[in-house]
Symmetry: C2
Subunit: 462 residues, 2 copies
Amino acid sequence: MLRHLLIAWVFASSLPLRAQRPEPADLVITRAHVVTMNAAKDVIEDGAVVIRGERIVAVGPAAVAARYTARKTIDARGALVLPGMINTHTHAPMTVFRGLGDDVPDRLRRFIFPLEKNLMNREFVHWGGLHGVVEMIEGGVTTFVNSYYFEEEFAAVVKQAGMRAVLGQTVINFPAPDAAEPYGGLALAEKFARAWRGDPLITPAISPHAPYTVDVAHLKKIAALSAELDVPVLMHLAEMTEEMTLLRKDHNMTPVEFLDSVGLLNRRLVAAHCIFVTDSDIALLKARDAGVAHNMVANIKSAKGVAPALRMFDDGLRVGLGTDGPMSGNTLDLIGQLGYVAKVHKLDRKDRNVMPAIKVVEMATLGGARAIHREADLGSLEPGKLADVIIVDHESTAMVPLFDVYSALVYAASPRDVRTTIIHGRVVMEDRKLLTLDTAAVRARMRDITRRINAALAAGLK
Amino acid sequence: MLRHLLIAWVFASSLPLRAQRPEPADLVITRAHVVTMNAAKDVIEDGAVVIRGERIVAVGPAAVAARYTARKTIDARGALVLPGMINTHTHAPMTVFRGLGDDVPDRLRRFIFPLEKNLMNREFVHWGGLHGVVEMIEGGVTTFVNSYYFEEEFAAVVKQAGMRAVLGQTVINFPAPDAAEPYGGLALAEKFARAWRGDPLITPAISPHAPYTVDVAHLKKIAALSAELDVPVLMHLAEMTEEMTLLRKDHNMTPVEFLDSVGLLNRRLVAAHCIFVTDSDIALLKARDAGVAHNMVANIKSAKGVAPALRMFDDGLRVGLGTDGPMSGNTLDLIGQLGYVAKVHKLDRKDRNVMPAIKVVEMATLGGARAIHREADLGSLEPGKLADVIIVDHESTAMVPLFDVYSALVYAASPRDVRTTIIHGRVVMEDRKLLTLDTAAVRARMRDITRRINAALAAGLK
C-alpha cells in the first residue's frame, strides 16, 4: 500500500487529558509534518513537538501545542520535523584536507599520513573541526562519533557549539600529531576520558586506529581502560584487504575474532566499516552487542566493497550510518548518505525491493542511537527523549510532490534543505543561521589554513 | 599531481590583441572561477566569460572583461562558472507522480502504466513538465532530452521557459494518454517534428518506447521518418532482462543488433541505459556513431546493474549522463548524479582510481553534447559556442576548502548550490530567482494536481 495513505497520529502518552491550565514549555514546534521514527513509525501531517529543558515532553497532533505555554514557538510549515541524525563515524577536523588525494592510489600512505605528519596540529583540529561541526549542524546531524587527534581541544569547541558527540582520542603505533612517541595517544585518552566523563553533551572515548596499527598489548590495555572508565572504544574494523591478510597470517583470525580475543568486542565498541565480515563474525558482533558504523559513500568511493549492513540490520545488530572523514567521503551530513545506502544495497542484492527508504531513515536516526547504545535517549521523537530535532524543508522543487516522506528524504532531499537544528533542547541553527558559532570567523580561519596548506604542498611534503 | 597546482589560463582566441575601443557585449561574467571543459581542461581562477547574443565571444583571465562594454555584468565571486549540464534522458512531466511506487516490485506495470492510463493528460504534462523544467534550471541543467506524451504541448512551455531541449514524442504499442490507438504517437511525432524543425531551442524527436514495446514494422517506419526529417530518435535500449530474453527468442539478436537491423542504429539515435551491452554491441554503437545516455542513479535504484559507461566513454563513444524520469531517479538535476557515477564505477571495477571526478564532469557537459551530436555548439565554455553557462556557488560549507574544482563538484556540491543559469545567452535564473517562469503559479498547479492524484489513488486505480 502507499504509505501516504496510512497517515497516523499519536497523542503523547505523557499528556494529562484532563489538564485545564496550560503547562509551561520552552519550545513548541507547530504546523510540523512530524516523522517520529517511533516504534509504530507514526507520521503526523499537522503536528507539534513540545520541548522543556533538554527533553521532549509531547509529540502529537496540532492540538497538543495548545496545552502548553512556550517561551518560543517555531512554525515548521512546509517542513518535515525529524529526530536529529547521528553520524556514527567521522574524522571531522580533516575538513582542512578535503578534496586532496581523491581518485589516486594508496591514498592512506601517500596523502593522509604525510599530510597529517607535516601539517596537522592543535590549531587545525580546532578550526577544521569547527568547520566540520558547522557542516554537520547545517546538514541535520545532531550527534557525531569522531576519531582523531587533540580530542580534548576538539571537545571544548564541540561543547561550545552545543553539539552532541562521542569523541575518541586516537591511539596508533607511530608518532602522531599530538604525541611524539608511538602509542602516546593512550595517556592522552585516559586523561581526556577522566576529564570529560559525565558531560551531558560530550562522551569521551578511546580510539585505537585499527587492528593493523595497534599491537595486542596496547589493545588489551585499551580494553581494560575502557572497562574501568566505562567509555566507548571507536575502531576501524574489517575495512582493508591488507588487514584481513595480516590478521589471518599473524593470528589466524578474522578482525572481529581478533578484537574478541583482546577483550574489545563488547557493548562499548563502535566498529566502523565491517565490510569484510563473515556470517560467524556477524553472529559474534551481535552476541557481544557491539555497534556498527556503516559508511557507504566512503566504502564505495574507495572501491572497498559493500558492507553487509542490510543483513546486519535485519539480524538485529546495532547499525548506524557514518560519513567517514572528509578525505574519504568528502561530506559530513547524513542526508547525502541516504540515497547511496538505499540504492547501492539494491544493486548489491540485485533486488529493487530491499533497503526501502523507511529503513534507511531508521538507520540514520534510531539505528545510529542504537549503535552508540543511546536509544533510550536519542533517535526518535518521543516524550522523555532528549530534544535533538531537525526541521527539513519539503518545499524545494525536488521534494514536490510529497507522496511519501521517506522517499522524499532518501531520494530527493539535499543537506541544504535543513532549516533548523535543535540539540539538547537548544536551537543551534534557525532558518539556516547558526546561533552558537561565529561562522564568519570559522570561515576566515579556514581560508588562512587553506593558504598555508597550499604553500606547504607547493614546497613539497616530507 | 595535485590538479589545483596546475592552474592554467587561456586567452580567448577571438580576442584582437590590439583592440583599442571596447567591443560591445550583452553579458559579462566577472571574478569567475572558470571551469572551461575545453580540450586542455583549462581552469581560470579569476576569469571572465563574455557573451554576445546567444554565443560566447570570449573566455579568459579577468583582464578580458575590460575589452568589452556589456549591457549587463554578473559578479561570480565565490562561484564556479561552468558549461551548462546536459540531461540526456528523462521524462520530465512525470514529476506529478514522483515518490509513488518507490521500493516496490514490478513498478512499470503495477504503477507507471496504470497511473499514466488513469491520470496522465495534457494538463499534467504542461504543469508537471514545467515543474521539472524549474527543477532542472535550478539544478544547472541547460539542455535536456525528454521522451514522453503531448510533446507539442511541452515544447511550447519549454520554449517559453527559455530552456534547450530535445523532445521526443512517444510511440508505443498500446493506447497512450495522447493517442487512443496503439502507435497513435507516430502521426503525432511526424506532425510535431514538421512543426518544430529548425527551432533554435527545441529539437523535435521521435521516441519509440523500447524494442519490446514497438514492432518491427513501426520501427522501420520511424527509421525512415527520422532520416527524411533529420530528427533524432530517443529510445530505451538494453535496459531490461526481459528485453534481452525476448529479442534473443524472437530475433536471435541483442537489442543493439536488433536496432541496427531495423535501420535505427545511426547518428540520430540517443540510446538510453545500454546496461546489457556486449563488446560487439559497444563496437557497433561506436561504428554507427550513436549517442548513449548513462542513467546511473535510476539503474542502480532499480537494481538493474551498472552500464559499462566508463568502458564506452574510454572507447570514444558518445556518452552523456541522464537522470531518467522522476519515478525512476526521483531528481532531474545532474549534480546529484555526479557522485554516483564516480563512486559506483569505482565499486564496479574494484578500483578507486577509475572514473576520476574530472571525467564525470566531462560526461555531464561535453559528453552530453556529444551524445546529442551538438558538441560543436554545446558542452564547453569556448568562444563561438552557444552561451549555456551556469554559476555554482563554491562557498557552501561542504565545498570548502576548494583544492580541486572537479572533486568539489562531484563529491560535495548540491544542486541547491547553483546560483545562476544562462541558456542561449539569456539569464533564466539569477541568484536562485527564475526570470522566465512564474514559479508560484507552477507550484500552485502542482499542489492542485497532487490533491487530485491523492483522491484518485484513494478511489483506486483501474
